[in-house]
């Protein structure tokens, strides 16, 4: 069960050096439970980051490109720095503890999980969670990691030894609570969010595959014992048997003062047709606040009515304070795939600034009834235009002898929320966003919010059941069966025959908002598109996955781009200050911390096929000389 390495023998030397009081930690997925992705580290400044050097780089060996017997790895684990060590989970479901100064492995724990893509197109992992009980002794500090087959493991943070008092010898079968439409396991890809002594767990599934699927919930688990404390569900009980999901697959945030857990709830099943779920599901595709002690819903704000676009709420909301009319309002900012940023009162869920209900296009699909209106935020400029998709790209149109223009005429597009159709609908933003699960980063001192976004158009084509042939899917493209619905779905990026995007660049941006005024400070094309090895011009930007880390020194660190580079960006101007090439797109949010008086930024370069078919197993740390 356990594969601990020989280095464990030198125990005295290897026991972690306790983090000093001055050390800046990154002890949770989003840096802080408020999901700010903010580090108080000040040494990384626009003047200094040009001198960044690689401190160390390791390869975990947990890598597969899908060409052999193993599915490809899709690794998005934000490294955790806590207890004087770096902790990462791998897509082979191993936990590694690393020396932050050298990258040397201190211990590893192998869950021995079957490496099978039970619910996802590849082997996915987004990392681990750290918990300090305040007690001494074995498992006084713990690392938690979930697996695709619905097991949650707890190990001692100092040694990697399983915590015997947690569930079944350190392993909790979370699938025991999968009791309705259990057509797939609760895949635990996102590490739990932890507050006090409770783990909050969401899960991922296959909401594109079935109409009737497990209804989404959040499970509160005792961090010591693995006992279920409470469960919160997001689909009304009476309709759970005929639909499903509205699950929480992304990270969550916590207002520790108010004991509020904020959860991004995804869309119901199936993703692209909702005739089986015309009854109101007010908590689907919402941001919802739960009482951390009871699981009771304190409030819920629906971001998409009757979601038939797979516009899952996909990132933890960031907790902020907003000044309005001379008052400080406890608020949150919720990023979305559809490009809008909602600012809500986090005590009540009420929008702090006007949100308009606007009429949107009707559906012409059999049995479907799209919502007549959708909520449009009016305060912060969206990252993606809600009224118009990017124009047809002249070069792609020329190369395809007008195919792109003909497509534009043929397919439906009537602004954001044009329903999927048999004719084919151009969806903008695409199901990959807009903004992705990395969410945004927030500088609480200067009240600036930074977020990366993609500009991508996809084709949604409903295929009548009699004509549907499943040819597989992956990387947010392909055939989606929607079993028991009258339609399957073909989802494709809108490309010409040569594989060129039919829409004009830029393909991605990094934006900065001033939350004192609601104004956009800057928006710059971010990253570079790379195809067949060729780098496109910087002004084209890149689609991005993975979020930014913001530092007190005025620098933003971010990977996320298609060109496998990690970058430092000037927070004041959006200009690139530094970059380095890594093994694959660094689609995890980096961690920024101080260890033994030295500041580090650590990236995981794991790749994601949504960006390009390149995988990685690299953890790389940078520091100043």
């Amino acid at each position: 069960m356990i594969r601990r390495h020989a280095r464990m023998l030198a125990l005295a030397a290897l026991l972690p050096v306790a983090a000093t009081a001055e050390d800046a930690v990154w002890d949770t997925f989003n840096g802080t439970l408020a999901a700010t992705k903010y580090s108080p580290v000040t040494s990384f400044t626009p003047q200094s980051v040009g001198k960044l050097k690689q401190a160390w780089s390791i390869h975990t060996g947990d890598l597969a490109d899908g060409s052999g017997t193993l599915p490809e790895t899709i690794w998005s684990a934000t490294p955790i720095y806590a207890n004087g060590l770096i902790y990462v989970g791998t897509p082979f479901y191993r936990i590694l503890a690393l020396n932050p100064a050298t990258g040397e492995q201190v211990w590893s724990f192998d869950t021995q999980t079957e490496l099978a893509p039970l619910t996802q197109p590849g082997l996915k992992n987004r990392g681990v969670a750290y918990w300090d009980s305040g007690e001494t002794g074995t498992c006084g500090k713990r690392i938690f990691m979930g697996t695709m087959d619905a097991h949650l493991f707890a190990v001692d943070a100092d040694t990697g030894t399983p915590c015997a008092d947690f569930a079944d010898g350190g392993s909790l079968n979370v699938n025991q609570w999968n009791t309705v439409n259990d057509v797939f396991p609760f895949s635990l890809l996102q590490p739990p969010t932890i507050h006090d002594d409770t783990l909050f767990l969401g899960w991922a599934g296959m909401d594109w595959a079935f109409s009737e699927a497990p209804p989404g919930n959040v499970l509160a688990i005792d961090a010591r014992t693995g006992a279920l404390k409470w469960e919160a569900s997001f689909i009304p009980e009476e309709i759970r048997p005929k639909t499903g999901t509205a699950n929480v697959w992304a990270s969550m945030s916590v207002d520790t003062e108010r004991d509020l857990l904020f959860v991004p709830v995804s869309s119901p099943s199936p993703n692209f047709w909702g005739g089986n779920r015309l009854d109101p599901i007010p908590m689907a595709t919402s941001v919802t606040a739960l009482d951390t002690n009871t699981g009771n819903v304190v409030w819920s704000y629906q971001l998409v009515r009757h979601d038939i676009w797979d516009y899952d709420t996909n990132a933890a909301p960031t907790l902020i304070d907003i000044e309005k009319d001379g008052q400080t309002i406890p608020a949150l900012i919720q990023t979305t795939k559809q490009g809008m940023l909602y600012v809500l009162n986090r005590e009540t869920g009420e929008p702090i600034f006007p949100v308009e209900e606007r009429a949107v296009a009707a559906s012409d699909a059999e049995g479907e009834k799209a919502a007549a209106t959708q909520p449009f935020d009016t305060w912060l400029e969206p990252t993606n235009d809600a009224d118009a998709m990017p124009p047809v790209f002249w070069l792609a149109d020329l190369v395809s002898l007008g195919q792109c223009s003909r497509d534009r005429e043929t397919y439906r597009y009537e602004g954001l929320y044009t329903p999927p159709s048999e004719t084919g609908t151009l969806a903008y933003p695409s199901t990959a966003g807009g903004m992705q699960w990395g969410g945004g980063g927030y500088d609480p001192v200067n009240q600036k919010f930074y977020v990366n976004s993609s500009v991508a158009v996809q084709l949604y084509k409903l295929i009548p059941r009699a004509e549907y042939q499943d040819k597989g899917s992956g990387a947010e493209q392909g055939y989606y069966p929607q079993k028991d619905a009258p339609y399957g779905l073909l989802l494709e990026n809108w490309l010409n025959w040569a594989g060129m995007p039919c829409w004009s660049p830029p393909y991605g941006y990094l934006s900065a908002y001033d939350l004192r005024t609601g104004k956009l400070d800057w928006r710059e094309p971010f990253g570079r598109v790379q195809q067949w090895g060729f780098y496109m011009p910087p002004s084209w930007g890149s689609p991005t996955i993975g979020g930014p880390a913001v530092t007190a020194g005025g620098v933003i660190f971010i990977g996320a781009s298609m060109d496998s580079r990690v970058r430092a960006i000037d927070a004041a101007t959006g200009k690139e200050l530094w970059s380095d090439l890594v093994q694959a797109p660094a689609v995890a949010t980096p961690a920024v911390f101080t260890h033994e008086g030295r500041d580090y930024v650590v990236f995981v370069a794991g790749g994601n096929p949504i960006l390009k078919p390149e995988v990685g197993d690299q953890v790389v740390a940078y520091t100043l000389p």
Binding site: G533, F534, L581, V582
Partner: protein, 116 residues
């Protein structure tokens, strides 16, 4: 003239080698990519064409065709190197272009001399 085309051949071979190195070395950003293979092929063809040109410098349709192909090869390989961010290879193609211009000018002068 022969020296000019020999210089083109050296530049092509060096560019080919540089891009091949990037193709086979891990984590160069273009490892194993079709674009790198194409640029390496282009560099190799420039080298081969320039050697042929140096070996058969005389006037005639084939020599003219070779000159044009060589020119296109230098431009294409240079463009590929630019988009692959292989700037040394790009520089080599710049040198190759200058050498090609020198070589072709010399051929033209010789041709004019022969006609006169």
């Amino acid at each position: 003239m022969r020296m000019a085309f020999l210089l083109v051949a050296i530049c092509g071979a060096l560019a080919c080698g540089i891009v091949l190195w990037a193709y086979f070395t891990p984590m160069t950003g273009i490892t194993g990519t079709a674009g790198a293979a194409l640029a390496a092929f282009g560099g190799g063809m420039v080298a081969l064409g320039a050697l042929l040109k140096a070996a058969a410098p005389g006037p005639g349709g084939f020599a003219a065709l070779l000159s044009v192909l060589l020119f296109l090869g230098i431009l294409g390989t240079g463009a590929a190197a630019y988009f692959l961010m292989q700037f040394v290879a790009l520089g080599l193609m710049g040198v190759a272009l200058l050498a090609w211009v020198a070589g072709v000018s010399r051929v033209a002068r010789l041709d004019r001399g022969a006609i006169a």
